[in-house]
């Protein structure tokens, strides 16, 4: 796809984005494009600003400069509650579930407050249970009593219930056993195949670059490398810094 086409049908367009906390600026002029249906990975060391980038995109943090638009609609200045209405779902760091609600209630919460998503809740719930059959078995269990992997499944499922066209996913493999993390990656691949654009932040560089159409490397709040997933997998700087090869 050429860049002109990518811009015409862009799922996400980020220009010169700056953000931070209090007196500390974390992001310094990020540019990022995600075409519709594309899978983009963001890699980088701890503290590079990956999570801050996702939190700024989904409206949890107000940006200090630059612009963000999703599907041609500007997002800057919108609250998180409004960003999700623009079709952008966020699977946040730490999962942020409702621990005293059941798995089913957590999932339904993803759709309850969005009229468009509520209309598709049945279809989306079926898709979530197809992706993660374990959640159907645990439907009545309180989210706070689930294992780490199951919580991650609920977090992804809840975001899918908001019927997103773009899904921002923060470190889904964190704290998961390899087999579980493989099944979470497989689910993300299937979600993407279903037509949802994905922006994935991951420590597991090898897995995420294998899945990604495009990827960017973030260092101290700036994009230092861009390329296709396979280009970056073989890039010496990536191999040395992130793959320990």
């Amino acid at each position: 796809m050429t860049s002109v086409q990518a811009r015409a049908t862009g799922a996400l367009e980020v220009r010169g984005l700056e953000a931070g906390y209090g007196k500390i600026q974390v992001l310094w002029g990020i540019d990022l494009d995600v075409a519709e249906g594309e899978f983009v990975a963001i890699i980088g060391a701890n503290g590079a600003g990956k999570t801050t980038l996702l939190r700024t995109l989904s409206g949890l943090i107000a940006p200090r400069g630059g612009s963000v638009s999703a599907f041609g609609r500007p997002l800057r200045g919108l609250s998180a509650a409004r960003v999700v209405r623009s079709g952008v779902g966020h699977v946040p760091e730490g999962r942020q579930l409702f621990p005293l609600m059941s798995v089913r209630e957590n999932l339904d919460a993803g759709a309850d407050y969005l009229p468009a998503a509520r209309a598709r809740a049945g279809r989306n719930r079926a898709f979530v249970y197809e992706l993660f059959p374990r959640l159907l078995e645990r439907e009545r269990q309180l989210a706070g009593t689930l294992s780490g992997g199951e919580r991650q499944m609920v977090a992804i499922g809840r975001a899918l219930m908001s019927d997103p066209r773009l899904l921002l996913v923060d470190e889904p493999s964190l704290g998961l056993a390899p087999a579980l993390s493989a099944s979470v990656f497989a689910a993300l691949e299937q979600i993407n195949a279903d037509g949802v654009s994905v922006v994935l932040v991951e420590q597991n560089v090898h897995q995420s670059l294998k899945l990604a159409d495009h990827a960017v490397v973030l260092e101290t709040g700036e994009v230092v490398l861009r390329g296709t997933g396979s280009e970056l997998l073989s890039h010496p700087r990536v191999r040395e810094a992130y793959l320990s090869l």
Binding site: S58, G59, L60, S79, A80, A81, V84, R85, G89, H90, P92, G94, Q96, L97, F98, P99, L100, M101, E105, A109, G110, D112, Y113, L114, R158, A159, S162
Partner: protein, 288 residues
């Protein structure tokens, strides 16, 4: 010991528990949903009482009907106080939050003293206040009975709202995880506003009842803040469902001490302090 006196004390305690639960459940709602310990909560109760008094004096409105004016007025007052003050300290240290609500309480109390003075105010001449029933030597007043029933209906209604309605689910979601709630499309601040305003409304309704049951002064609010705190502590901070039983326990304890201990009536407030101390000490043993 005189059994009639004991039964009378138990019945009075149970009847008082309704009103206590109504006031405490609002305090627990603010703690549980917003995470704000509202030391001005009893003042909402006091404002409700004096609004009912003023509506009666100026317009001759019976307290039963003024409920329908006081409730929305207190909802509005709660919303104004949330919007103008509370929402700015949500992320501030707890001590700052407590000082703020304490300050709001002092302002409301002193405004009331300016307007109504320090003397007890009675809503005089309402006929149903004198009505009571005698059952085997135990007397039950119509007004305490009605206040018990109305309070119980409101508290159970709140439980139902939290468990079954979209607004209730939104409040639980916001209480359990603020970030998660924002990400599923909830405007967290708006849910907080409604919870705080609702908390003030429930206290205000309790205030209307106390205006009929007693002859309150503008300092009545502090006593009820204290009572509500004892109940919230017994139930466990932020535990809304435990309020009903905690209120029953605290109100019956107060009633028994006031009735059965010589000069017990002067010990009423001491009962609440004693319960707060006992519960906190017991919890610290359990966790130590």
């Amino acid at each position: 010991m005189d059994t009639t006196l004991l039964v009378q004390a138990l019945v009075s305690g149970v009847l008082a528990a309704g009103l206590y639960a109504l006031v405490s459940v609002g305090l627990a709602l603010a703690i549980g949903v917003i995470g704000i310990v509202n030391f001005a909560h009893g003042e909402f109760f006091m404002v409700g009482a004096f609004l009912a008094y003023q509506l009666f004096v100026t317009f001759g409105i019976d307290p039963v009907w003024s409920l329908f004016i006081v409730a929305p007025a207190l909802f509005a007052l709660g919303a104004i106080i949330y919007t103008s003050t509370i929402r700015f300290v949500l992320k501030a240290p707890e001590l700052n939050q407590m000082l703020l609500t304490f300050g709001i309480g002092i302002i409301l109390q002193n405004l009331a003293l300016l307007i109504w003075g320090g003397d007890p105010r009675t809503i005089a001449g309402i006929t149903y206040r004198g009505i009571g029933y005698q059952i085997g030597g135990v007397s039950i007043g119509l007004v305490p009975l009605a206040s018990f029933v109305v309070s119980l209906v409101l508290v159970l209604g709140l439980y139902w709202m939290l468990a079954r309605t979209p607004l209730g689910r939104a409040m639980r979601a916001v209480a359990q995880n603020r970030t998660g709630a924002a990400l599923v499309g909830l405007e967290v601040n708006r849910v907080y506003l409604v919870a705080f305003a609702l908390s003030a409304l429930l206290a205000g309704i309790g205030g209307v009842m106390i205006a009929v049951i007693q002859s309150p002064t503008p300092v009545v609010g502090f006593a009820f803040t204290l009572k509500a705190f004892a109940i919230v502590v017994v139930a466990g901070l932020g535990n809304i469902r435990g309020i009903l039983f905690a209120a029953l326990f605290v109100a019956v304890a107060e009633s028994l001490v006031a009735t059965l201990v010589p000069n017990g009536d002067t010990l009423r407030n001491a009962v609440f302090f004693a319960i707060i101390f006992a519960v906190l000490i017991r919890r610290s043993w359990r966790t130590a």
